[in-house]
């Protein structure tokens, strides 16, 4: 297929659009000076909530006496961070200071037969987008437009899309990350785990981490509470083929053979039932399906699991007893990024069943009942009813998914004559789809078939290079956003307001969405002049005001009804088919899936290949931070972890740069440094996700390290909900001498 759309490096652009209005910034700072807000020796602070990851910690942005950005620290009242940001949040200043930011709107054009970006005014950019969208709507229907979004600004573009007539709002955080967990828990307890997770780690007596790397993932509240649990002497059990940071903090580390976790979980269920370690009263009162479960796991003994997982039977039994003794103050942690092998919903079902047997759901030290504040929506006309959805195109697939699948939209964009609707336009807000969706070739094929691709971001990313229109957003430090509400121990709201005027010609998402709406005749859906008016109206309904929130940043409300945990003998109606906790998932049965999880063996690496595992470093959030000056200062490339025995076999030395090649012959675009370490098993390698950027405009991180996404060409799709399992890829090493040979 001829490439209609070239990847453009924004570096081809001149230095235009970079005029910074520094005097303006200073004036602005002066205007806002309010003696009451001088807290720390004349330092002014404004509230924000962090946008470096989804945890959304609330904090304060401080400026120095010159009015320049100084530091960002946590708000003590905030339940997400308790006054302490993680390194990425503290380094958020780098997002503002990054000189590689997008600076002005860009439109793709032809110049002497070559595709280039030209700088555009906001009005030109919006006219271009509105005209294209109207044309697509006329010719194909508005439903052929999709929004991919990650982050706060998405809310406003969602409103725009719904007003336009499309239901296709996809968050890659679902099918590429935590979807299987939510589906598994919803179909067991009638509710998901949600974000921030409702895990009561601070009061737990036993925390079981299976594929969860707390401490390397800096999900702030979880990291903090794990530290509290360590202080209180909780038993931590970590199951991981890699000696993770969490493993090093644990009483027990189970170095499991990769891809066999489900066998271990089933053996634990077996022991807990056989030795009657479960919470009998709880199980009897709240659950259904115990006898079916008992029959199901009969043969799944620790001896059976030993052969699969390499974990000795006595260790499996001992761990089950530790959990049983701690019950109900025990958490078998559901993890977050759980799309591994395509049977992930079933693996998470086993996790949910274990928690149900141990009686930890709704109990202190297990899972608490969160509450969320509700912010009223400003009244607007009803959204038009879409005539079709992606489900119309894939009627029998992923029936248990309750969200629009990012990869599903991507697949439905690649033209196929058998389908009635192919997507024609994508609006991509704050997510670098090229690195987020597995199978890059597939993503690029879809993009090439689009009539319109709009990218909204603060930084030039790989996806930006494929855009028709690039809209530069200002950073969270420079804008208002929707009020933060999230489920937690108490309902709480947080405000984000600009500490500084937007640098360059950048704008907030809410402004862009509203201006676009105006061009498209949809302004009735944005019935406010300024965002301040909307926020003030909403806050007043909640008994506060914009003025008060600007001073306090965070407001906590009392819980409306009940306690954090089930009361003894409380009657509870669960949101499942049976109204009980379903050990046996009736909804799965109805849809033709296994109502009880079964272990299936996954493919193993061929000789000379190693399973590619990937994860997080505490100082980075994927692509979002990889060019941040403060954070690249801490870590500016990833390395591939190799066991010493493997290194010896291949003649690898520490810090040597090599290429990797996967089972499909795909070679890493850039070389990656070897890290020889005992912390990794001999049958797998490990690297941190989010490096190996191919966008030259990201000056600090271009070509540094390798991209795991690049090597994930094989995707193991979860038949229940469409999650994209990414841990079924194997790599081998290409050393220099081999390079010469080939």
């Amino acid at each position: 297929m001829a490439t209609r759309r070239d990847f453009i490096r924004i570096s081809a652009l001149g230095a235009g659009g970079t005029a910074v209005a520094w005097p303006l910034v200073r004036n602005f700072a002066k205007e806002l000076v309010d003696p009451e807000r001088f807290i720390f020796e004349g330092m002014r602070r404004t509230p924000t909530y962090c946008e470096i990851c989804f945890w959304k910690c609330a904090g304060w942005v401080y400026k120095n006496d010159k009015g320049d950005l100084w530091k960002i620290i946590g708000n003590d009242e905030d339940l997400h961070c308790n006054g302490r940001f993680c390194p990425r949040g503290t380094g958020g200043v780098g997002m503002y200071n990054d000189e590689d930011r997008l600076k002005t709107p860009l439109i793709r054009t032809q110049d002497r037969g070559k595709q280039v970006f030209r700088e555009a005014t906001w009005d030109e950019a919006f006219t271009y987008i509105a005209d294209k969208l109207k044309k697509i709507s006329r010719e194909h229907g508005p439903e052929c437009t999709a929004l991919f979004t990650h982050g706060s600004g998405g809310k406003y573009f969602s409103t725009l899309l719904k007003a336009f007539g499309s239901p296709h709002i996809a968050a890659p955080s679902y099918a590429q990350c935590r979807g299987p967990r939510e589906v598994a828990f919803q179909n067991t307890f009638g509710e998901g785990v949600e974000s921030p997770e409702r895990t009561d780690i601070r009061d737990t007596k036993c925390l079981v981490l299976i594929g969860s790397h707390i401490g390397e993932n800096m999900h702030n509240g979880q990291v903090q509470e794990m530290s509290v649990a360590i202080d209180k002497g909780a038993i931590i059990i970590t199951v991981d083929p890699r000696y993770s940071t969490a493993a090093s903090k644990s009483k027990y580390w189970l170095p499991i053979k990769p891809a066999t976790d489900l066998a271990l979980l089933l053996a634990w269920i077996h022991v807990i039932l056989e030795e009657e370690l479960y919470d009998k009263a709880y199980v009897e009162k709240y659950t259904m399906g115990l006898d079916l479960l008992q029959a199901h796991v009969k043969g799944m003994t620790p001896e059976w699991a030993y052969g699969i997982t390499t974990i000795p039977p006595e260790v499996i039994r001992q761990m089950a007893r530790e959990m049983g003794h701690a019950s109900p103050a025990v958490i078998v942690h559901p993890g977050r990024h759980v799309t591994w092998y395509g049977d992930d919903t079933q693996r998470l079902r086993a996790v949910a069943i274990l928690n149900a047997l141990l009686g930890s759901w709704g109990r202190r030290g297990g899972f608490f009942k969160p509450e969320t504040a509700s912010v009223p929506e400003v009244p607007h006309p009803a959204f038009p009813t879409p005539k079709r959805t992606w489900r119309t195109e894939f009627p029998d697939l992923y029936r248990l998914s309750d969200s629009v699948l990012a990869n599903g939209v991507c697949d439905a964009t690649i033209p196929d004559p058998s389908r009635g609707c192919n997507f024609k336009a994508w609006i991509v807000n704050g997510t670098n789809l090229i690195e987020t969706l597995p199978n890059q070739d597939n993503t690029i094929k879809a993009i090439e078939a689009l009539d319109l691709l709009v990218v909204i971001d603060t930084m030039p990313m790989e996806i930006t290079g494929y855009a028709d229109v690039v809209l530069p957003e200002c950073t969270y430090i420079e804008r208002y956003d929707e009020i933060r509400v999230s489920p937690h121990r108490k309902p709480q709201i947080a405000l984000r307001m600009p500490a500084l005027k937007p640098k360059y010609n950048t704008k907030p998402a809410y402004w862009m969405a509203r201006e676009l709406a105006k061009k498209m005749g949809l302004e009735a859906f944005f019935p406010y002049e300024k965002i301040e008016d909307l926020l003030d109206w909403q806050l007043k309904q909640l008994g506060t005001s914009l003025e008060e929130m600007q001073r306090i940043g965070v407001k906590t409300f009392e819980r409306t009804a009940d306690d954090l945990y089930f009361a003894p003998d409380e009657e509870v109606e669960f949101g499942t088919n049976s109204g009980k906790i379903e050990l046996y998932a009736t909804a799965f049965e109805q849809e033709g899936f296994d109502p009880l999880p079964k272990y299936t063996a996954h493919e193993e690496p061929p000789a000379g290949y190693y399973r590619l595992n990937y994860g997080r470093a505490p100082m980075h959030t994927f692509s979002r931070t990889s060019n941040n000056p403060n954070l690249t200062d801490l870590m500016d490339e990833n390395s591939v972890w190799v066991n010493p025995k493997v290194a010896q076999e291949w003649g690898l030395t520490n810090d040597q740069y090599i290429h990797l090649r996967n089972q499909d012959g795909k070679r890493s675009e850039f070389p990656i440094k070897v890290r020889i370490t005992e912390r990794i098993r001999w049958d797998s390698v490990y690297m941190v996700h989010g490096f190996g950027h191919d966008q030259k405009r990201l000056k600090r991180c271009y070509g540094k390290g390798a991209s795991d996404t690049n090597l994930i060409t094989k995707v193991l799709v979860d038949p229940l909900m469409g999650g994209t399992g990414m841990r079924g890829n194997f790599v081998t090493f290409i050393t220099e001498s081999e390079e010469v040979k080939s």
């Binding site: 302490r84 993680c86 390194p87 990291v223 903090q224 493993a247 912390r679």
Partner: protein, 173 residues
Amino acid sequence: MAVDTRKCVGCSDCVVACQTENSVPIGFCRDWVVEVTDGTYPTLELELRSERCNHCDNSPCVRCCPTGASHYDKGGIVVVTHNKCIGCGACIASCPYDARYAHPDGYVDKCTFCLHRVEKGLLPSCVATCPTKCMYFGDLNDPKSPVSIMLKNRKYKTLIPEAGTKPQLYFLI
């Protein structure tokens, strides 16, 4: 100051918090994180710890400073007076912990235990920011200070004690 190695996850938040609080230029740092792995798979141990100037009671840097820029300040904190420092680098060479760096503006810089904050009753920035709350700060002469209590109740070590510098940064193990 005491750092609990059982809780530190090596996230380096302490490093960024120090850089922003004290305007340490990018590319330099007053504190840093060390990772030590011991053993062979699967019998392993891992220690993570946040290091900085040890504010030694017997500081070679103070002794060798020709201008008196490096000196003991309130509470025995070792401080460099920037405008007295001629940037000769003798102290950088003398420090067994490599805790000092040459600031691009021509003087030598290092951890001050955030004296400017401590004087106001605030904790040092790294201590106040650390998400795992693994650092304890206070007066070692006061038996009720958090750091004294930790040292009384827990096993600890100091770094390179054989250098005889009497370091005042303790690691709980």
